[in-house]
Symmetry: C2
Subunit: 253 residues, 2 copies
DNA sequence: CGGTTGCTTGAATATATTCAAAGTTAGTGG
DNA sequence: CCACTAACTTTGAATATATTCAAGCAACCG
């Protein structure tokens, strides 16, 4: 079968019009002119393995990406190696905006699973703002959404108890994953280790393990195959004292 | 002297051209056409007392503000009253963007001191994006800056020790205050109580008090007149293991 | 099969919270 | 001017929560 059709062997890229994400209810419909621009804005695709660094802190001319497939996370390090995971990135999420706008990345992004990313041409950003105010608005909207997620994460790390934090984190990620169709026929499976959870919640690995153990005993989650399977999203959400994700459709770059 | 000149007695508003913030080195210079638009975009001014709520969580048609004078903070509450302060707002900061773009406020903003705010007409935002791509870009930039501050705060609450957190917080606020000329001839004085600090750091009031006490013994800060006087910003920054604020000029709406 | 990564556990220690109370300061009204 | 109040800071002690240290176990991979 291999290479029988040269066209298929060539590095095929998903055309924006055919982007599987666009048909999801989670995303706003787009004007044709906007879609045309985005097609030109897309410079290529990037495939990354689990553990790969997509964007590194300190990089000064980092590109802009939209995640097409896979899971990743954004984090910062202190000088002695302490790590704080800031947020997770899922399909449809834009990454690298801070670096693109402000000149230097002040956080890193790493793949949690194999990822496929859409690479944008940051030099065309001025053109985007000039000719497509709707898309410009969308980019601001996406930035405001990230801010809102960070607000909630900060509330969690600062003020929720360990078990509430863990429940919140898992409910939050699982809710986002469901919105972009990552649950499929089975329950959502999140490819994170307990070390990732610890570094997100601001807890030690040992304490995180004991906390997750409680969630397992409550039959809210399972931990298997190096990841987390969500058994009862509603009860996790409730245990966290969380309102849940707001429901509106969002833009996709 | 009172009312001798009726023009002076009328509720004078600062014209954007005369805005005292614009002359600071911290802010980018603006095109005349942009300044003209901003003048029309400005709908009025709001004066708030210490303790006043500028924006309330749940509000759905909240306006957009730029702080002209005074100090405030952004926070979220859990249902049982636990409070997390997310960030502080100082002159030149834009507030209410999340609410304006996404429809509903998911955090509140309260005045820490008497404040003067510039109120913008959110209905003209579409016009701004359509006719002033440079300003649209600026708004995105401002959102990205807020995100960057939140990243750093989250790192702090999640991974720094109590004394590092306290040092970071005070150094961070003092650095921002200096940039907008709030230090004057003396050292920076931040009008916060230890309860604010506790709710920012994710610590209890008692533990916060004991931690601040250490900073006082190290002669890094003083606590007086219901506020914090910064004695040694460099050593606070160093103790926090913080890089300091990046130096570029930023946009002002 | 040996090495690596990730999960689990117990015990000792450190950090942080809660509870309770008292001291300080500034403002209010008599 | 003083008594009274409210808001904020300070302290000690008891308790709870979380970290660190130290092992051991399980699964996977070359």
């Amino acid at each position: 079968m291999r290479s029988q059709d040269p066209a298929r062997a060539a590095p095929r890229q998903i055309r924006c019009q055919d982007c599987p994400l666009r048909s999801l209810a989670a995303f706003r419909p787009f004007e044709k002119s906007e879609l045309d621009f985005i097609s030109r804005f897309k410079r290529g695709e990037l495939v990354a393995d689990r553990g790969a660094t997509i964007l590194a802190e300190g990089a000064s001319k980092a590109p802009l990406f939209t995640v097409l497939k896979g899971w990743g996370f954004r984090y910062k390090l202190l000088e002695d190696g302490r790590r704080q995971i800031l947020n997770y990135v899922l399909p449809g999420d834009l990454i690298g905006l801070q670096g693109t706008l402000m000149g230097e990345m002040q956080h890193s992004v790493e793949a949690l699973s194999p990822m496929l990313l859409c690479v944008f041409d940051r030099d065309k950003l001025t053109e985007l703002y000039r000719d497509h105010p709707g898309l410009a608005y969308d980019i601001t909207w996406i930035a405001a959404r990230e801010e809102r997620m960070l607000d909630e994460n900060l509330l969690s790390v600062g003020r929720r108890s360990a078990i509430e934090r863990a429940a919140y984190l898992i409910a939050f990620i699982a809710s986002r994953a469901r919105k972009v169709g990552m649950d499929g026929p089975t329950k959502v499976e999140i490819p994170i280790t307990q070390q990732h959870v610890a570094d997100t919640l601001g807890l030690s690995l040992v304490h995180t393990n004991k906390t997750i153990r409680k969630l397992i005993q409550l039959k809210l989650v399972q931990w298997r195959d190096g990841g987390c399977r969500v058994l009862d999203l509603d009860r996790l959400t409730e245990l966290a004292g969380w309102q849940g994700l707001d429901e509106g459709a969002r833009p996709l770059l």
